[in-house]
Amino acid sequence: MGSRLRWAIGLYTVLAAIVVAAMYLGSLGSTTIDRAVVNALIALILVLGLSSFVGASGVFSFGHMAFMAVGAYVTAILSMSPEQKGLQLADLPGSLATWHVNPLLAVIVGALVAALFAAVVAVPLMRLSGLTASLATVALLITMRVVFQNWETFTRGTRGLILDSKAPSKEVVLVAALLVLGVAVAFRFSSIGRRLAASREDEPSARSLGIRVWWERGVAWVLSAFLVGVGGGLFALYFRNISPDSFYIAITFTVLAMLVIGGLKSVSGAVIGTLVVTAALELLRQVERGWTIAGVTIPSRLGMSELGLAVVLLLILIVRPDGLVPGELRWPGGRADRPSPSGPTVPPAVDVAEPIAVPDERAAASEVRRAP
């Protein structure tokens, strides 16, 4: 067993244990907390999915919640009972109107559809360089929202869909989150994941070593769309009420904030970021409802939790740009920073836990470049 594999398994065990422990602690409260716990698990799936592309490649995507929406709508359409479809989606074509698929199967089909859609989008998108690609994903998010708002036959427009299928238990969502975590860790430690990390740190060098950056990014894009699609499907099943606005700017911001606050470059960062931000948001939501200290009533103010999240994100960006967890967690004294056995095609520096300040320094250096 290579040291990389050992490290990956160790890392997975630690992260899974953290997630399970956090969920257990979170569940000690009442049933209203149950909802918060599932919310956190779904957020974790979304963040891990997004991190498989954004974290691994360093290219920001604002469009992933479109894949979440695809997953959610497909799951909803497949898992609703025929009677409800008659009421809400009377114009569904053919056998879609009568199908009544097992909810979990529906989630997987939904994620596959999301991945397929992502593969189609990837063909033009992966031609673009980092920043332009990020901007194009914004166009993707808006386009898809308008489509969901208008495609009455499948989405019931802005009124959204109400599901009548049985909501999955908390444990099912937890198992799904742990599976997604496994995929995310495996991907980061795979050769593709490591080649992507190399291109994230220094794209020209990576290309000069023969890494087909567009291909590696495309693979990550499709995989992350699948994972985000799973998150969308579970979201639909659990919260039972979806509309185009469920998958727009607010959730895009929350998920990106979790990712950046935790640390973009590692799966550990995605996990820690999700847990920390979720806990902070729950706390802020308590404050938001209004409360009384020493006779002074602080009135309820909507928007405070989002405001707090934005402030934390700004602080992290300014003070600790690599996030709370810059590199992967590791056992104290671990030896995983040995050069990788796959030889010189992958710069071994990528997985070193110490933050590598390459991009910043390079940006600074290129500022002092010669005039043409």
């Binding site: 360093g58 290219v59 920001f60 604002f62 033009p124 998108l125 031609r127 673009l128 360089s129 980092g130 920043l131 332009t132 990020s134 901007l135 194009a136 914004v138 166009a139 993707l140 808006i142 386009t143 898809m144 308008v146 489509v147 708002q149 208008n150 020209p204 700017i249 911001f253 990106l256 904030a257 950046v260 103010r301 909507l302 928007g303 405070m304 989002e306 405001l307 999240l309 934005a310 402030v311 994100l313 700004l314 960006l317 300014i318 740009p321 991009p359 910043d360 940006a363 600074a364 290129s366 500022e367 002092v368 470049r369 010669r370 005039a371 043409p372």
Partner: protein, 294 residues
């Protein structure tokens, strides 16, 4: 013929708005490599200033709006963007996203999410008729104001010392600094100008719709930055060109789409933009010095 002229007028009006939105974004991007999502919240802040001062004489409304938005733009630069200056484009993008979200939710706490309405002057609601054409005074004002702002900006950039310094900074920031261009001042001026543009845009938007909400900045910023991308990010001429092109495309789609597909207009628009970006990533006019060098 009449309907063609009417369409031209509509396209010109929409294009003026988009060009106004795009200019602010292109200006900041040219100098800092920052795609400023928070430009939309500057527009929103301008609109709310109009709302709060709507009983004042109109000249004072304009002054107050511009002053408030410029102050906000400068504050934004000082507090959020200066600390991250020089970081990767992705970091800057996320920072502006966070600033935008912050301002939007701050407004939500102060003004709540209930939409407000403002009525500045009855002139904004009137229109006049030439032959078969109906032209609203507001589109005349919008087209003229945008043209005026563009001419002033061009004069500023070409005829004043600071303007030349700004163009130098946009072309090669590091080199410009080595030649003695004061970085902080140039960037602050760029933000101030983007504040002026956003303030005017907010004023015109309130005049056009008569209503405001805390999320009203989103659509302008999306159209603005789409226009800037089409034109070639960082190029000011490109931003203006992209703005008018987008205006023309909007009106064109409105006309050719059958009624039942009308709701999809923006989907077609942004899908076209997506395709355009894939085919011509540099935009119509490629800004000098924007290509990544190794």
């Amino acid at each position: 013929m009449t309907s063609f002229l009417q369409n031209v007028i509509d396209a010109l009006t929409a294009g003026s708005y988009y060009a106004l939105f795009a200019l602010g974004i292109a200006l900041i991007f040219g100098i800092m490599r920052l795609v400023n999502f928070a430009q939309g919240e500057l527009i929103m802040a301008g609109a709310y200033t109009v709302y709060l001062t709507q009983d004042w004489p109109w000249a004072l409304i304009v002054v107050a709006t511009v002053v408030v938005v410029v102050a906000l733009a400068l504050l934004m630069e000082r507090v959020a963007f200066r600390p991250v200056r020089g970081r990767s484009a992705a970091t800057l993008l996320i920072t502006s996203f966070a600033v935008s979200f912050f301002l939007q939710n701050l407004a939500r706490m102060v003004f709540t999410t209930l939409p407000k309405s403002a009525d500045i002057t009855p002139l904004f609601r009137r229109s006049f008729v030439i032959g078969d054409l109906t032209i609203s005074w507001l589109s005349v004002i919008a087209v003229c104001t945008t043209a005026l702002l563009m001419v002033s900006l061009a004069l500023f950039l070409n005829r004043t010392r600071l303007g030349v310094q700004m163009r130098a900074a946009a072309e090669d920031f590091g080199m410009a600094r080595l030649c003695g261009v004061p970085a902080n001042r140039v960037i602050a001026i760029a933000f101030a100008i983007s504040g002026v543009l956003a303030g005017i845009a907010g004023l015109l938007l309130v005049g056009q719709t008569g209503s405001l909400s805390v999320t009203m900045g989103l659509t302008p910023v999306l159209f603005g930055f789409t226009a800037a991308v089409i034109g070639g990010l960082g190029s000011l001429t490109g931003a203006v060109l992209g703005g008018y092109l987008l205006g023309a495309a909007t009106v064109f789609l409105q006309n050719i789409l059958p009624f039942e597909l009308g709701g999809y207009r923006d989907a077609f628009l942004f899908a076209a933009v997506f395709a355009f970006m894939a085919l011509r990533p540099g935009g119509l006019l490629r800004a000098v010095g924007l290509e990544e060098r190794v």
